[in-house]
Structure formats: structure tokens, C-alpha cells
């Protein structure tokens, strides 16, 4: 996808016409205006489109009931645990599969099929087999978020520059040292996988909680929907959005601090 942007072996103006760049923050203005208009001109008794101030009130009352923070904590804990497990499994398997070059053709179709299995369909299956509990949620979240990490680690190892792999052999590195050099050079790939996996893991966590009514933000959303408490539904959408932003920024921070030594990543 990004191939054409890096095709700059020639050309002193080798840039796209408007550059990639980061979108300026004032681009949030339309959203702010929309919310303001909603607040000012919205129907205060609307069932479908409650005004934003009612969302905040709903958050507030959830907080007073004490359910908000315990739910956020439950969701965060499932998310964090599964990210750790998924990263460990994904990196290990990815490195193993990356070192057997002949495995690609034989494994690709299976991996492709498994990683495209929608988590939503797996949740009920896991619930019926493992029962409705946190362990089940963990299994599902790990299963769906392990693929990006596994695959991008594998391709990072497969694409290790031949120079590097021959210098590993050349320096007669073995065992632990060898592995640590491999991990080090595959790090950008691993992080790329984590970057894709993290938002996915959050969504699947919420999904598992939502479908099986397991404690957490997802379950709060479900009960709000079942009680037809629309202000609370919107409020929890906001909470979920904030969680997603937090996850994204944490991943960015980790990525930035780890990759500082690696220079720019070309994927």
C-alpha cells in the first residue's frame, strides 16, 4: 500500500503533492460544531438522539453508582492481559514460523483462514465450550489479536536482510544472543503488529463482554441498550471512544520510545 511513496530512487521533488502529514487539530471543529448544534437545537426529550449534556449526566450517575470505574477496570484488565499474552505468543510463533522458510506455502492458507474468522462468531462458541467467564474472554481476545503480531513478526524475520543473517552466522552468535539480535531487528515488525492488534483487542474485549454480558464496559452498554436508556448508550459510546484513544496513544508512545533507536520504519 505504501510502496509507491517509497519509490524515490530518483527525483529531487520526490513528494506527493500535499504530503502525508498529521491532520491539524482544528479539523475537530466540525465535530465540535455538530455536538454544539445537537446540544442547542436538539429535542430535550428525544429517545433516539439525547443531547450531549444528558450523556454527561448519565456518565455521572454511572460513576455515582460505582459501576463505571469497576467496569472500566475489568475491561482494561482483560485487554491488558490478553495483549501481553498475544504479544508473547505472536512473537514466539512468528519468529518460529519466520525461521522456517519452507513453511510459508504450506501454512499460508490455514493462517489466512484462521485470522479472518470473525471474533464475533467465535464468542458464542467459546462461551458454550468454556463457559461465560473471564478466561473465555481472554481466550477469544488473544485468539483474534494474535494474528497481526504473529504475521508481522514472521514477515519481519523472513525479510531480515541477508547481510544481517549472515553476519549473525559470521559472528558465531548462538542461543540467547542470537535470539536477542533477531528480536532486536524484528522489533519494528513486532511493534507494527502490536499497533494493529491493540485496537482490535479492545474491540473484541468489548464485544465479548457485550455478547455474553460479562462484567465490563461492554456489559454496561448491553444493559443500557436493554433498558432503552439511550443517554447511557451514548455516554458509554463516549467512554469506549476515550478508551480507544488512550490505547492508541499508549501504543504510539511505546512505539516512539522503542523505535527512536531504529530510525524511520519502512513497512
Amino acid at each position: 500500500m505504501t510502496r509507491q511513496t517509497f519509490n524515490t530512487k530518483t527525483g529531487n521533488i520526490g513528494k506527493s503533492h500535499s504530503g502525508k502529514g498529521v491532520a491539524p487539530l482544528f479539523g475537530l471543529l466540525p465535530l465540535v460544531v455538530l455536538l454544539l448544534v445537537w446540544q442547542i437545537f436538539g429535542n430535550p426529550h428525544s429517545v433516539f438522539f439525547p443531547q450531549p449534556n444528558r450523556w454527561l449526566a448519565a456518565i455521572n450517575s454511572l460513576q455515582q453508582q460505582g459501576t463505571l470505574w469497576t467496569s472500566i477496570l475489568a475491561t482494561a484488565s482483560t485487554f491488558l492481559q490478553s495483549m501481553i499474552v498475544a504479544t508473547l505468543i505472536g512473537t514466539t510463533l512468528g519468529m518460529a514460523l519466520g525461521s522456517i522458510t519452507w513453511g510459508g506455502k504450506a501454512l499460508d492458507p490455514l493462517l489466512d483462514f484462521l485470522r479472518n474468522l470473525p471474533a464475533a462468531a467465535l464468542v458464542p462458541a467459546a462461551a458454550i465450550v468454556l463457559g461465560t467467564n473471564t478466561k473465555m474472554a481472554l481466550v477469544i481476545v488473544v485468539f483474534s489479536s494474535v494474528w497481526p503480531i504473529l504475521l508481522s513478526t514472521r514477515s519481519a524475520i523472513l525479510n531480515l536482510s541477508p547481510v544481517l543473517s549472515s553476519s549473525i552466522t559470521n559472528l558465531r552468535l548462538s542461543g540467547l544472543r542470537r535470539t536477542s539480535v533477531m528480536i532486536g531487528s524484528a522489533l519494528p515488525g513486532i511493534l507494527l503488529g502490536v499497533r494493529v492488534a491493540a485496537p482490535l483487542a479492545l474491540i473484541v474485549t468489548l464485544l465479548a463482554e457485550f455478547i455474553t454480558n460479562l462484567s465490563g464496559v461492554g456489559a454496561l452498554i448491553l444493559s443500557a441498550q436493554q433498558n432503552f436508556n439511550s443517554a447511557e448508550v451514548y455516554a458509554l459510546l463516549l467512554v469506549a471512544g476515550v478508551l480507544a484513544l488512550v490505547v492508541n496513544s499508549i501504543v504510539s508512545v511505546i512505539e516512539a520510545s522503542v523505535l527512536r533507536r531504529h530510525g524511520p520504519v519502512t513497512t
Partner: protein
């Protein structure tokens, strides 16, 4: 040279076969002991039953139909809006942060909003799936257009092309591979979210059949439907790539797969 295609296909079957055999054996031997974990044979039997009863066809047809409609809507909207936002730098600056923020809202938290507004209807399925599918298409169209090389735009000016000509002959074709990637991701998401709204409560389609099988404690049928969802996704993806390959010269299809 790459090995012939048929050979790849044959090799590709080995790993799944081993997996299925291991699955069957480990249950037979008692290595895995869950009350509701079906063996592959049980799943195959269930698949046969639902295929025979017509339920499989009916549910699959519904889900695929909804997913495709939602995808078509999302694609049309995503590409159109994406072209406009991508072409205008001031507009991009003015709205892109909003698009990024909306895109990062966990889609699953939006499902209940849809349920409140539409109830468990066909409309809900289509709206939710289209909403999910529009983002990759929109974002990829925007970035594809914005990635158009300055040299290419200069060529257009140099040859004194009109703005429309430049869009049609230069900008659109040069961003097409990126747009296609977005369309492909959108297709997958559209299917998944259709299934999600069926699982959550819409009384049709594969998702609904799946959840009914769970409640009726028919794990075999349930796993059969999961297999079907996976297959449908796999086939839709394959069909998309195949069609894309027909309409574009060889080199470009590899960019779409990425």
C-alpha cells in the same frame, strides 16, 4: 520462479488436514474434555443436516445479501467523499481530525446506538455494516488521492489537462490500488458487522442461526455456522481479488493484495 499454482493449493491443504485430524483424535482419546466441544465429524454431520434442511442456504443468502448491499453503499459514499476531501487541501485540514476520531470509535459500542434508533430490523444490519465498511474506503481514498505524485500532477498541467481530465486520467487511476485495498477491507468488515448485528438480535442470517444453535445447545451446528462465516469471508475476499485482477493489468493486483 514460483511453483505452479496447483502445487501451492495441494500443499495448502496439508496443514488444515493435520489440524482437523489432531482435533478429532484429541477428543477421541480424551485429551480435550469439554462438554460442548464438538468433534470435526459432529460438525460435518451438522453441516450436512443444515444443508439438507435449506437453513444453511437461506441464512447464508441473507447475510451475504445484506453484507453486499451495505458494502455497495459504503463504497459509493466512501469513494465519493474521499475524492472530495483528498482533492482539497483546506477541506482535508478542516475535517480530517474529525474523521480520524470518528473512525477510532469502537464500532461495537455503536451497535447499541443503532439498536435504539432502528430496532432489530434489516435497516439496522445495513446501517451498521455500511458504517463499519465506509471508514477503510474513505480513509484509503483520501490517502490515495493525497499520495498522487507531484510529478504526475505536473504532467497534467504540462499537457494542459482540465481539472476533470486530471482527476479521471491521473489522480483516480494512480490512487486506485490504495482505494481497492480500502474496498477490500470494507467488504470484510461489512460481512463481520452484518453477522454481529445478527448475533446481537436481528432475527435473520448466519449470526442469528449461530446464536440459536448456541441456545439450543447444538454445538455441532454452531461450529458449522462458524465455519460457514469463515468460508464466506474467504470466498468474498477471493471473488473481490479475482474481479480486481480482471480489470487491472497484472502488476497492479499484487498491490491490492497487500
Amino acid at each position: 520462479m514460483a511453483p505452479p499454482k496447483r502445487q501451492i493449493r495441494l500443499i495448502g491443504w496439508i496443514a488444515p488436514t493435520i489440524l482437523v485430524v489432531l482435533w478429532q483424535l484429541s477428543i477421541d482419546v480424551g485429551l480435550i474434555r469439554f462438554r460442548y466441544f464438538p468433534t470435526p465429524v459432529a460438525v460435518a454431520r451438522a453441516l450436512y443436516t443444515i444443508a439438507l434442511s435449506g437453513a444453511l442456504y437461506k441464512n447464508t443468502a441473507h447475510t451475504v445479501f445484506v453484507a453486499l448491499i451495505a458494502w455497495a453503499i459504503a463504497s459509493a459514499l466512501g469513494v465519493a467523499v474521499g475524492l472530495v476531501v483528498g482533492l482539497s487541501v483546506p477541506l482535508w485540514k478542516g475535517v480530517m481530525a474529525s474523521i480520524d476520531l470518528l473512525r477510532s470509535l469502537p464500532i461495537i459500542a455503536l451497535v447499541p446506538v443503532g439498536v435504539i434508533i432502528f430496532g432489530f430490523t434489516l435497516k439496522l444490519e445495513i446501517v451498521i455494516a455500511a458504517y463499519a465498511a465506509i471508514w477503510p474506503t474513505l480513509v484509503n481514498t483520501i490517502s490515495g488521492v493525497r499520495q498522487t505524485r507531484i510529478e504526475l500532477l505536473d504532467v497534467g498541467k504540462m499537457l494542459r489537462m482540465s481539472a476533470l481530465e486530471r482527476l479521471r486520467k491521473l489522480i483516480f487511476p494512480s490512487s486506485l490500488p490504495v482505494i481497492m485495498v480500502g474496498l477490500r477491507l470494507g467488504l470484510g468488515l461489512s460481512l463481520v458487522l452484518t453477522v454481529v448485528s445478527e448475533i446481537v438480535g436481528t432475527p435473520h442470517g448466519i449470526g442469528n442461526a449461530l446464536i440459536s444453535a448456541e441456545q439450543a445447545l447444538h454445538p455441532g451446528q454452531m461450529f458449522a455456522y462458524i465455519l460457514v462465516v469463515g468460508l464466506v469471508g474467504y470466498l468474498l475476499n477471493g471473488a473481490f481479488l479475482y474481479t480486481a485482477r480482471i480489470f487491472s493489468p497484472a502488476e497492479r493486483s499484487s498491490e491490492i493484495t497487500r
